[in-house]
Symmetry: C2
């Protein structure tokens, strides 16, 4: 498949607590991305920024021009996107469309967020703030927050398919292990199934170690047209498909809890554009905000048969040395989840993996990979296909 | 000039206090826009939403899928934009680009916001929330909010060009008069120069009546490709140019206070795309968040010579029966300013004016018009050119 656009630079901060203004934090991802591409700032034609919560956490909105000014971009179109956890994937989609259609030649895309108590907001306040992405009238008044939303979906999956608590724990153990090989991951070290099962209950069936953390962090990529890719230093990785779909909210109005139709629609569209099918996917970064979310996602993406998501983790089929490695970066679970930075962080991992540049967590012989990033009550989903340049 | 895309449907609510959830408020603009186009919901391929403050005012983020669900759109890509007061112009730009490049055939774009005390936030709280769009590190700690930012620019204009308090008041009187003919305006009735000069001081040189209000409201348009425009009921109005530029923030780092280089850059680009110059503009909707902002904007747009913005208002050159009418809708000053809805509300006014469909505030023989929408510390500016279909 031909490239629609090419990633020629990638950078990200370590995820975890950071005590810096958003502009400075973003610079620590963007400047390395520009360096990686070997590009001068004045060659950047437009800037696409994802940030989800800055207004609520730090009274900081209209971030795109402020961040651009801080890193020395001037005069170019700057725009901010917000689609909950899928925020910077939305920025990425629009940027790729602009490059593909000749609107801009070379653009900078990224995401930045601070969610840890360095903002002055404790975890309980952040959980309430973040619940702003659930349905305001039908869900927030019930007191449900995201662990509860994904617990509902996962309980249904356990009921329908016999998925077990142990299988969920295996997802956490796997991603924790992958993350232990990622120096930019929020959490280091390994965990056992027992560690997960004995951690405190958050929202049944989830224990603490089934849940991703709130992190601070930033990620950025430089995208250019396929024609220009060779003129930059950074080894190009092709973007060959992006699917974006939306499902009904609130959760109660969905046709089913575990189908996640937006993910299925987005995957179908992304595979169609890239002229691949799920069998061609060598590895995937998926949105494992909770262990159950990964189980459901890999089914929607066609990486395993429906109902098989938990079994696949328990059998090691989604481990780094398995059939189809899932979340070699450690995923949201171990790498961390700075909301608006997560989408482009997945693109950074795909880029570096497809360049064979990630050391001991390298997926062997990877040529084609996907990123799956969802927002809200499985309401927004982006699926992106990237391929190594031949 | 050929159309890049065509507006075939337009709708908006009255601006002013509304006591409804954002989804319901938006429906009151979107459903009339769909009716105006004569289009069925299932013909809409994508949804582009502008909302600026929902997270901060109502703990409501990730709005695009929720709003889409409420108005019966399902499965299609939905995305939210935030660029301060220029928020829905950003949504409009991206939507027009998508239609122009064949990514989508027919799309819905709109903005919605609630800023009045119906949200539970009083004006002083809203002023602080809205100051989130100034620079977080360099401006917010000083206590400056937007009246102060635009007062600085306007004082400099008075110093450089001899612009007077009376000339500023004439802008308010003009826009108030235009708004008195707009049944959807927040404020009705006329005002005199004395009324303005005797109203309470807000931030010198601005009195209360130099300032636009915080409003609640929503606006929406349906955009389709030029090829498909004839297949819908709504009389098509062509989009022939959109310029988008960004200036440095904070204010202290700008090269000058009254140049508003983003507006000049955006206008140059929009005129170039549309193959027009400022002399071809029959009327303009401009971002008159404060009277001084209109004075500065019409100079940046080339509608009057630099330094002549205040004189032009005093001489009636920008009145409905003047050389180049500015803000026939009443502008932000009289029509109101529901932040995220303002950009597409300008597009609604251009559409209805160019269709000769606005009654007594009709600009005679208007064929070509522009909208100018800015965000933050004159940091983001969009200029859109629209032309009546021949």
């Amino acid at each position: 498949m031909e490239a629609r656009a090419t990633v020629v630079g990638a950078g990200m901060t370590k995820f975890g607590p950071h005590d810096q203004p958003l502009s400075e934090l973003f610079a620590d991802a963007a400047l390395p991305a520009l360096d990686d591409a070997g590009i001068d700032r004045n060659e950047i034609d437009a800037f696409y920024l994802g940030n989800t919560l800055g207004g609520m956490t730090e009274n900081e909105s209209h971030l795109a021009p402020a961040v651009a000014s801080h890193i020395g971009l001037r005069g170019i179109p700057c725009q901010r996107f917000e689609d909950a956890c899928a925020t910077s994937s939305s920025a990425f989609k629009h940027a790729v469309q602009a490059v593909e259609n000749g609107i801009h030649d070379t653009v900078l895309i990224g995401g930045v967020e601070r969610c840890t108590p360095t903002t002055g907001k404790e975890t309980d306040e952040m959980t309430e703030i973040f619940a702003s992405a659930t349905h305001r009238q039908y869900e927030q008044p019930t007191g449900i927050t995201f662990p509860g939303v994904f617990a509902l979906l996962t309980k249904r999956h356990m009921y329908d398919h016999g998925t077990t608590r142990e299988q969920l724990a295996e997802v956490a153990v796997k991603n924790q292990h992958h993350g232990s090989m990622n120096p930019r991951a929020h959490f280091g070290g390994d965990a056992t199934v027992e560690d997960v099962l004995e951690s405190p209950i958050i929202a049944d069936p989830f224990r603490l170690m089934d849940c991703c953390p709130f992190s601070d962090g930033a990620s950025a990529v430089v995208v250019t047209s396929a024609d220009l890719a060779d003129s930059y230093d950074g080894e190009g990785v092709m973007v060959t498909g992006i699917g974006h779909a939306t499902d009904i909210v609130p959760v109660a109005d969905k046709q089913g809890l575990t189908e996640t139709t937006a993910a299925r629609d987005a995957a179908t569209e992304a595979y169609r554009q890239a002229e691949i099918d799920a069998d061609d996917v060598d590895f995937a970064e998926v949105h494992d905000c909770f262990t159950g979310a990964e189980v459901i996602a890999i089914e929607a993406l066609g990486l395993v048969p429906d109902g098989d998501g938990g079994v696949a983790a328990a059998e090691g089929r989604t481990a780094l040395d398995g059939e189809t490695p899932v979340n070699p970066s450690g995923g949201l679970k171990a790498k961390g989840h700075p909301i608006g930075a997560t989408g482009t962080a997945q693109i950074v991992e795909l880029t570096e993996q497809l360049r064979r540049d990630v050391g001991e967590r390298q997926v062997e012989d990877a040529e084609t990979a996907i990123a799956h990033n969802l927002g809200g009550d499985t309401a927004t989903t982006f699926v992106t296909v990237m391929e190594a340049t031949p």
